[in-house]
Subunit: 280 residues, 2 copies
């Protein structure tokens, strides 16, 4: 089954477009004690990731592990990432690897092999990629995605305050490239687009202009995008967009003892609350 169809089915089965991000921020991990070395922190990151997997299974269609936080913990952190990706897929969740990779030729192929191949060490159903190097730089990722029923989410309009400066000059051409690439492949194609909930009007316009493209929408909650803003990225049938919540769905606003005692239970309650917030 191609990625767009798998995504639609997963959203329909879960009854929500909510995606939960896994950001194992070393300063905030449950079980953290002073003086822990990187290997110990990688163990906590693994446990945190597995707690999110356990809490999310059956509640949402997909998880979005953030590669940077695992990479900061070194090779042991990357082993934790591999374990968390594998556990999420085993639990029936789609995995969107948030790595924002981008490179050319065989280097791009190597990044795709790391994540999108059937025997990838960091197995993902989709990968976030940066388009800055040009359309030829996206082809190795697209080839791997199509060969293996996986998908991409290309950065188009990110949620941060400075995103317009070097994205706005290319957004029209890039959005057309993405949707045209998809149009040749069916109702929805495998090349998604990242569009922040912090740009609701532009997002709604892009929604109308890109009928063949799934959106991945960060910026809901902590970064200031409202549930109503985020919902503007959906099509009327409730498909066409995944709305991400990372720390809002997985970390307490302040320090919280209950979090340390039973993170999976705490996160499950939080995810249910964010699902409700998003429904409005």
């Amino acid at each position: 089954m191609n990625f767009a169809d798998r995504l639609a089915l997963a959203v329909q089965e879960a009854g929500t477009p909510l995606v939960v991000g896994i950001d194992p921020w070393a300063d905030r991990l449950p079980g953290l004690r002073p003086g822990m070395d990187r290997t110990a922190l990688a163990g906590l990151a693994r446990e945190f990731g597995l707690a999110v997997v356990g809490a999310a299974a059956g509640q949402v269609p997909a998880l979005k592990p953030q590669f940077a936080f695992f990479e900061a913990l070194g090779p042991a952190g990357m082993q934790a990432l591999a374990d968390v990706c594998g556990a999420a897929r085993a639990a029936g969740l789609l995995v969107i690897g948030d790595a924002k990779r981008g490179d050319i030729g065989s280097t791009a192929t190597a990044y795709a092999e790391a994540t999108l191949a059937p025997d990838a060490p960091f197995p993902c159903d989709a990968l976030t990629v940066s388009p800055f190097l040009g359309p030829d730089s996206l082809q190795p990722f697209l080839a791997a995605a199509e060969a293996h029923g996986r998908g991409l989410f290309v950065l188009l309009r990110t949620s941060n305050p400075g995103s317009s400066r070097w994205q706005s000059p290319v957004v029209e051409d890039l959005s057309a490239w993405i949707d045209t690439t998809n149009a040749a492949r069916g109702a929805y194609g495998p090349v998604g687009a990242v569009i922040g909930a912090t740009h609701p009007a532009e997002g709604a316009a892009l929604r109308a202009a890109m009928p063949h493209t799934w959106f991945l929408v960060p910026g809901f909650g902590a970064q200031g995008g409202s549930a109503a803003d985020a919902r503007r990225m959906l099509r009327p049938d409730g498909l066409g967009a995944l709305i991400n919540s990372s720390r809002g769905a997985t970390f307490p606003a302040g320090r919280d003892g209950d979090f340390d005692l039973a993170p999976e239970r705490w996160i499950r309650t939080r995810i249910a609350a964010v699902r409700g917030d998003l429904r409005g």
Copy 2:
């Protein structure tokens, strides 16, 4: 000492602006045998990287490991990357991590901690970064670089055929942002720019327009940029640009038995030849 001064000293000491890339392409590694698993391939990637370090020490100012090829080999590959980065720095070579990372806020900080912090698991003297998310996305990388005497190389005009499409609309503003950021910090600043040897005329114009910025120049050799093209990125004093050669300096053009028998000796001879080619 700040990164720009360290770079100038290293180029002067080595007597060449040549940087050697480390691309442990799994299909071409010395010692490769059919049916090797990822852990075995990671061992070969480590040996290959250490052979390049041994061959390059004293001959060139810097090495440029390509993160993608290590990542494709999983956590063991990332351990090999950590070992190769550490060995290169111990041998007195500057390490330019070619990772093309880019993200926002604490995620960008995590990528910087992975590579630019004093105790980084993948220790680099500089990191390639993508500017697509905007100037605010570069600030965490810049803060880490400045705090620790490290540098960045921002993608500006990459060497691939399709690079113009989403780079040309922003190249003027992005190049001005980079050089202005540097100008506040001295003759040369810590924010380098990646400019392919495949754009010699545009590169020469950017060289004139960006007097405070070190260039990192890929595309010399295999990708079609000539030595004369690459040298146009240098200032008259021979500083201001690093010229990269990856596979041309480290892999035989065809299969070659001698490569398997003594890779370090073979690569040393090859690096000396590419140094000579670049001198013209």
